[in-house]
Symmetry: C2
Subunit: 466 residues, 2 copies
């Protein structure tokens, strides 16, 4: 392969025509969303009051594929999809693995309009909300990638967008709120005084750093104020992971163009789990059909919030104030407020039930890294590949580098593919702190996790009643 | 044309194989670079001491095309070229010009590794410097697009990079210096205390906002300290405009894919003139060959620094401290310090001699706009096309919008093409100030220009002696 083929492109008319639904392929059925009021599976009417209707239908669909509406496909094609798949020649050279024994590829979702994979589902959710006649979507955001994407999507469809942004990120990443406002988004630092859920924390400490769990509570509460408003979630749920499968489908076609049908390792960072799912699930579907017996899947977490790596698989609230549905997932406890690491998108106490299902069935593994080592990997990537990654994405890069070095030490041939989920142009403070030697590491102690999980505040769900 | 073809892509192997050299096509010969020491055309030995040798050769070449070295072409292909050409359907709809009578296209250089057209020449200059055995390139930067690109290019080729950044931008755009440092660039606010040229201003006022003219003086002075260092310029000179012609060549192929062979209006913003040249010169070559008789070319300037629109065509120093070569160009005077508008890349007192030559021969025109109206146009673009433009790029957008509205009023059919030279993710303060109603307009009064141009400090060049 000549280096002139380092970027493998697809034409706009090659945007996939359907999403891959992993649910019918799972060895054990996916667990339902539980109504926090009665501990029973949420009936559709309840879910319809929270989320756009079409999304709720997709959440439980058992269809193997779900068609992407033509207008939406055209919008993807008009704006940024398909995205490029890059061979990381520069990084490979720097790692001393030149040659073709170990190949590192990355799917570059940073070229999207708002700089990450998030518009994939933002455009879909705004499209369905508009079609249903809704006027407003309300959401939370960590580092701001999701808030930017939904503000963008809502603006395109003439919907208003309200974003509760975790205060730690609101302060660390001031550019993000300006970008959201440029897209006509309305942004509030969370915890805020605008909701009851927010005031629980805000009144005690107006400078509370916040968490995704609290911001979700605020957004859900806000969305329930208006009949024509709905809550929009940028990760965790099945339909969100579904919308992201467009990533992995394109990647498969792109790899096949350079003669690769069986990648060895698929890597993505995990906060709620959507970007990892997006890349991994189309390959996982093949694995579950017996086609990719040797492919490994690794989701990467921060040591400050290792929901899968150190959490427990059990029922927990999706949010801090217990307003959102209860999910069966790996969790470090909904009451946990993670340290304000720069990878704000990974500060979620739980994970997508699809991921938990896969982990529980030993179909994938997880790993975790410190903040300084991931930013160091991100800087190495910037200097060798030219694109400065988001701190979240740095987790995937760190793991890809580690896996490449391991393969080299073991004299193994490996094709490593990771999801370059977003650029870090709004996260430069993380790099500044690292380069100046001021970046601090955080690790969540096991005792804190067991305290959180043993708290009387955890939900008790009787599955035999379903 | 279906909207699924709103982005017209080319494959990496379609990167042009040669640059278009406009010099042999010009109706009047291009004027030479003048040595500020003796007022005579700079001999090659002198130019070789300042710039990489191959660039000096290209500066005066009369070849109609110049081959792009294979390694460089592969590097473009590996990293970001060809870039997409977009049809601005969203913007067109917002302007009420739906249909195919008036079509707006933009060439999206913001997808480059560092977010603008600047790597096109940065990679070329670093490539030639490396080939010559040099170890360091020194440059100036306004808003930081050029400094980022050269830091990136130097780092790829193992060269050190020193950047003097205009202080107004250094303060307004803190992200840019972090990005340059991430690429191993060494960044100083200009005027600085590191050079004699800088100290002339720094000692009187350590908070002096600076100008491109002063920063060029500092960079040239710094580069002369070491035998293995050279000065690198990101605009103005013929060879820089040459390297950018890759933009227009791709655009021509992309337009032909949608059946357009004769665009009506070609637009680009102008600071030193390189991004405008990059898009325009391949079309201008055709015009000079009689092929595009009706195509108009418009370069767009800020009212705070309208070098072409309100300046005079005459000999002037390229920099404030008179260390760089003297050029025949439109200028508002080398002593002029423009207001600190956000479009830092457009704060240059002069313009590329190629542009001046074209203007003087009535082959193109210029226009100028206020800061608030261009940021307003940029915000309209963000909300309709999704990509937030750099303040420099907003000038081209404002002009494209004005031309589209004019065509609509006159019931004319027009194909308008502009260069989307860079994204504005590091320039968010401009948008914040605009949205909060705090953005201030500046206009350079005609008296100030005539004072500057009548100053005894202007060079007197006797062309009869050449």
């Amino acid at each position: 392969m000549s280096k002139i083929n380092a970027r493998i492109l697809l034409e706009p008319n090659e945007v996939p025509k359907e999403w891959i639904n992993i649910l019918p392929y799972l060895p054990l059925p996916i667990t339902p969303l539980i109504n926090p009021m009665d501990g029973m599976p949420a009936p559709p009417e309840l879910a319809f009051a929270i989320f756009p209707k079409e999304c709720v239908i997709q959440e439980v669909s058992q269809e193997r594929t779900i068609p992407i509406p033509k207008e939406l496909r055209e919008l993807y094609a008009q704006t940024y999809r398909p995205t490029p798949l890059h061979r990381a020649y520069g990084l490979e050279k720097d790692l001393g693995i030149e040659g073709d024994d170990i190949k590192i590829f990355y799917k570059n979702e940073s070229v999207s309009t708002t700089g990450s994979h998030k518009p994939n589902t933002a455009l879909a959710q705004a499209f369905y909300a508009k079609k249903e006649g809704l006027k407003q979507l309300v959401t939370e955001t960590g580092a701001g990638q999701w808030g930017s994407a939904l503000s963008y999507g809502c603006n395109l469809f003439g919907l208003t967008c309200i974003v509760y942004m975790v205060r730690a990120s609101y302060i660390q990443k001031p550019g993000r709120k300006i970008l959201m406002k440029a897209y006509n988004g309305e942004v509030h630092a969370s915890p805020s005084k605008h909701t009851m859920s927010g005031r629980l924390f805000y009144d005690k400490n107006p400078e509370h750093p916040g968490s995704l769990g609290i911001a979700i509570s605020e957004a859900v509460e806000h969305s329930l104020k208006r009949d024509d408003a709905r809550y929009s979630l940028g990760s965790v749920l099945n339909f969100v992971c579904l919308h992201q499968t467009i990533i992995g489908q394109e990647t498969k076609i792109q790899l096949s163009k350079v003669g690769i049908s069986e990648p060895d390792i698929i890597i993505g960072c995990m906060g709620g789990g959507s970007n990892f799912s997006g890349l991994a699930l189309p390959f996982m579907r093949d694995k579950l059909e017996g086609k990719l017996p040797n492919t490994q899947f690794i989701g990467v977490e921060p040591r400050a919030c290792p929901s899968v790596t150190k959490g427990e698989y059990r029922w927990d609230y999706g949010d801090t104030a217990k307003k959102a549905p209860i999910l069966k997932m790996h969790t470090v406890g909904h009451g946990f407020i993670p340290h304000p690491i720069h990878a704000g998108g990974l500060r979620y106490h739980g994970i997508a039930p699809i991921i938990s299902n896969l982990v529980n069935n030993k179909l994938m593994t997880s790993s975790m890294h410190f903040q300084t080592e991931v930013i160091e990997a991100g800087l190495q990537f910037t200097r060798t590949e030219g694109i400065l990654p988001a701190p979240e994405t740095c987790h995937a890069i760190k793991e890809a580098i580690d896996q490449a070095i391991l393969a080299k030490e073991n004299n193994e041939k490996k094709v490593i593919v990771f999801n370059f989920s977003g650029h870090g142009y709004f996260d430069l403070l993380a790099y500044k702190e690292y380069m100046e030697g001021n970046l601090i590491d955080f690790e969540l102690p096991s005792e804190e996790i067991s305290d959180a999980l043993n708290s009387s505040d955890m939900p008790i769900i009787d599955e035999s009643k379903f």
